[in-house]
């Protein structure tokens, strides 16, 4: 086997050195009747060429996003990632290192984490950020728990702007951890009165902007109302590129910001691995979950970095930890940070403008199609359209014409008949004039 360095003669010599006759003597603690006599019922080892063929055959059955006009978003977005990013994250020293528990020989990982935390704090307009969560949705559930710890109040209120899957993750966590939850029903362009629901038991309100349906929300009045009642505002962002065009949640008064960082540096990868961004105010630092990297010095006084504040974490505090999270999204953070440093301020702003402009162009073209209605007023790179017919059927028909034209809301809100004719459509810098034209032609054909 190509990955195993021991030869049979090595094995024999080692068994002799250990002083046993056969390998099974080392497994003597396993109850005899539970030791497998035969190989498990799975195929035998094969060479690299054969494996590659098998995986290539599986890959060939899928429609790759880059091979068709592509407009799917809903929390995961297709952007161009510079070639440099993928090259650098494959360097052995980054790819095959463990969590940086030995700072003297892990400064590469640690310095990039420190840079990542700073980038995230700048983007979100917050004071501190951690070294990542698994993704936006799990980060959102952690943020709610954090707000409940800070305020010592049990209730969270979720805006209808929140991605339905994020809502489901938070609902699940709340139910199991015994917290109260109020979820508002979402709809494109909905005006909701979340403020009147805030009471003295409310730990936080959770609002997403750009929202799941694409709507932009001014967080400032919500933050003010939450703070007046002693509650926190958690701002959720699923499209990180939007930070380049829209006021930061920090500027609008958010207390905790969670975001899905996939758009920067990370591909679609069928939903994972992604990278959760998590930032907050300095005063809430000790209640923040996850790993944090900080600056310090070595014995010679040289500036360096190390994981820190671990007295919040499970490996030190066990059942009293702020979270059970251990491994996070290390390499995805690195990809994020490299892509972000290539973009810089100039690049991110330009990229955001390009996304916004492409979305406007697409919305204008789709709106002209007879029977199609644009449901979103202010938006960034994603909006909702109403179609004359069942959205899921129409999306399938578009796929049959090789256009991936968005997400039927019914896939995420199967119980809501009132949303069955809605499609959430995303546009990014990857879309060309030809892509938009193909979408319009295909949708026209499907609807006629």
């Amino acid at each position: 086997m190509r990955y195993l360095p021991l030869t049979d003669s090595d094995r024999q010599a080692m068994l002799e050195r250990i002083g046993v006759d056969q390998i099974n003597d080392l497994f003597a603690d396993i109850p005899k009747d539970k030791l497998l006599a035969d190989l498990v019922d799975l195929p035998l080892a094969v060479g690299e060429l054969q494996v590659e063929r098998q995986l290539a055959a599986l890959a060939a059955k899928n429609v790759a996003a880059g091979s068709v006009p592509f407009f799917v978003g809903g929390g995961a977005y297709r952007h161009h990632v510079p070639a440099t990013v993928d090259h650098l994250i494959q360097r052995s020293e980054f790819l095959t290192a463990y969590t940086p528990y030995q700072p003297e020989i892990s400064q590469g990982t640690l310095q990039t984490l420190y840079e990542f935390q700073t980038q995230v704090a700048l983007l979100t307009g917050m004071e501190v950020a951690n070294a990542s969560m698994y993704d936006g949705s799990t980060g959102c559930a952690e943020a709610v728990l954090m707000a409940q710890r800070i305020t010592k109040r049990p209730k969270a209120i979720l805006s209808g702007t929140l991605h339905p899957h994020y809502r489901a993750v938070v609902e699940n966590m709340s139910e199991f951890s015994g917290h109260d939850l109020v979820s508002l029903e979402g709809a494109p362009g909905a005006v909701e009165d979340i403020i009147s629901l805030i009471d003295d038991q409310t730990a936080c309100i959770v609002v997403q902007s750009p929202g799941f349906y694409g709507d932009l929300v001014n967080l400032a009045p919500l933050a003010e109302a939450a703070h007046a009642a002693g509650a926190l505002l958690i701002a959720v962002v699923t499209e990180t590129i939007s930070f380049g065009a829209i006021k930061s949640p920090g500027e609008m008064g958010a207390d905790i910001v969670v975001a899905e960082g996939q758009s920067i540096g990370n591909g679609l990868s069928f939903g994972g691995p992604y990278v959760g961004l998590f930032a907050t105010r300095q005063k809430y630092l000790r209640q923040m979950p996850g790993r944090i990297c900080g600056e310090t010095v070595d014995a010679d006084g040289q500036r360096c970095f190390a994981l820190t504040l671990s007295t919040r974490e499970q490996h030190i505090r066990r059942e009293k930890a702020t979270s059970n999270i251990c491994t996070n999204s290390g390499l995805c953070c690195l990809a994020f940070s490299i892509h972000m440093s290539l973009l810089g301020e100039v690049g991110l702003r330009k990229l955001a403008q390009l996304n916004h402009r492409n979305a406007i162009l697409l919305a204008d073209q789709l709106e002209k199609i007879s029977g199609v209605e644009l449901m979103t007023g202010a938006f960034f790179n994603e909006f909702t359209i109403k179609v004359p017919g069942n959205a899921a059927t129409i999306i399938e028909a578009l796929a049959a014409k090789n256009v991936l034209g968005g997400i039927p809301v019914s896939r995420l809100e199967p119980g809501r008949d009132d949303l069955a004719d809605l499609i959430v459509v995303a546009a990014t810098e990857i879309n060309t004039n030809e892509d938009r034209a193909a979408f319009v032609v295909a949708l026209n054909e499907v609807l006629s």
Partner: protein, 523 residues
Amino acid sequence: MTMNSEGRPTAPSAPSQGVGRKTFTGNRGLQIEEALLFEVGRVDNCGVDLEDIGDFDSRLGGLEREREIGLPGLSEPEAMRHYVRLSQKNYAIDMGVYPLGSCTMKHNPRLNEKTVRFAGLADIHPLQPQSTVPGAIEVIGQLAHWLKVLTGMPAVAMSPKAGAHGELCGMMAITAALKARGERRQFVLVPESAHGTNPATAALLGYKIRAIPAREDGTVDLEVVKENLSDDVAAIMLTNPNTCGLFEKDIVEIADAVHAAGAYFYCDGANLNAIMGKARPGDLGVDCMHINLHKTFSTPHGGGGPGAGPVVFSERLAPFVPLPFILDGKLVEDVTEAAKGTGEGSQTFGRMTAFHGQMGMFVRALTYMISHGADGLLQISEDAVLNANYVRVCLQDIMSLPFGERPCMHEALFDDSFLEGSGVTTLDFAKAMIDEGYHPMTMYFPLVVHGAMLIEPTESESKAGLDLFVAALRDLVFAAKAGDLERFTGAPHLAPLRRVDETRAARQPILRWTPPVAAEAAE
């Protein structure tokens, strides 16, 4: 002096004067200093060329960003140097032995990195129509099948994002199963040798922890478990092989006792690498177990993730798996559809993450499994256990084994009693290993042993590599016993950094860069 065939000296004529010499740049030959991104980048620099689109009427509803973000940019060559230089300050498996116990730092085959980048697997969206991704669903289904067969368990949840997330998944399923029986139990039994994630996970769900002390021999005492069981205990969370590197030999009796009390058996699968193809958790009475794909199935650790933590379930817990799950080749994403069935997922407890799990890790793990096959996976476990025992036997005469000279599984646990009176601590010993070119072993864990040193060589080390590793450790032990204190207390001497002041990092937390002007103004 040694000469080569051209008559040039191949060794320096005088001992090197380099050690300790200061250079103008702070660089030391190939070891190049690198400032922070915020010190080398400029806000007006950019390493990406994007179309200039000029002005247009925005539709941002008055929420346009007006303030500068303050993000520095780098051109491509600058970015390349920044990250390559930083990478060179990291130790990695590709460089040498990485014997972190309980972390399973094994070789990461590059074929896995190739297959995961096939466009049909990498460039697909989690919410594009299922009809356009049958191959992706098949990948998840195939991996699920391999995991079920290897563990002898009938169901699996694929969506958990890492080991700790998998623990949460398992404990949620247990809670849901109890609820379906009309019960809410208060306690979870956790051995003292367990990973910190176990009690942290149980506490997250509102459980109270009952710590189970280890027996003299490092394993869990069946009688103590029995004494702590009651109708108010929801589960035991047991790692097997445990973090002392030992197989819990009473596991079947423990499982029986747990089941007799109406509780469930959560097995932490962090150490599955020791028993693949040798024994199946399903035959041992386990109800659920997470599997760290980034340990056992070699998906790269990436400096701290991403991981992936699928959870296998027994028949009793199968109905409660989270959404989404695969049934008859289809991805079931919603509760109503799930409830139409009678078996797996029919009483699903809900959703743990936005999408379908760590697909990038699934492709790598499946590639790894197909490469090894049933025979190769068995060989992995045998070699991992053989290597660990070899290290144990080669060191047991001069280091100290807390539980006597008995075989271990995939990792060998030593305590610090061999350092008694030497003035050298476990930490010093570990830092001295850095000077010898090795990543230290896991230190001070598990907590049940004083000054623990947990060595897991994995199957990826050759005999010659282990012989050198063992020789280096023996040399260190002799030096410690001989009183060469400076080699330890001042270590590392030869790493890019001397010993890092971690206390200071925690006492005066500086967690982000701030511009020097602002920093001065703040003081």
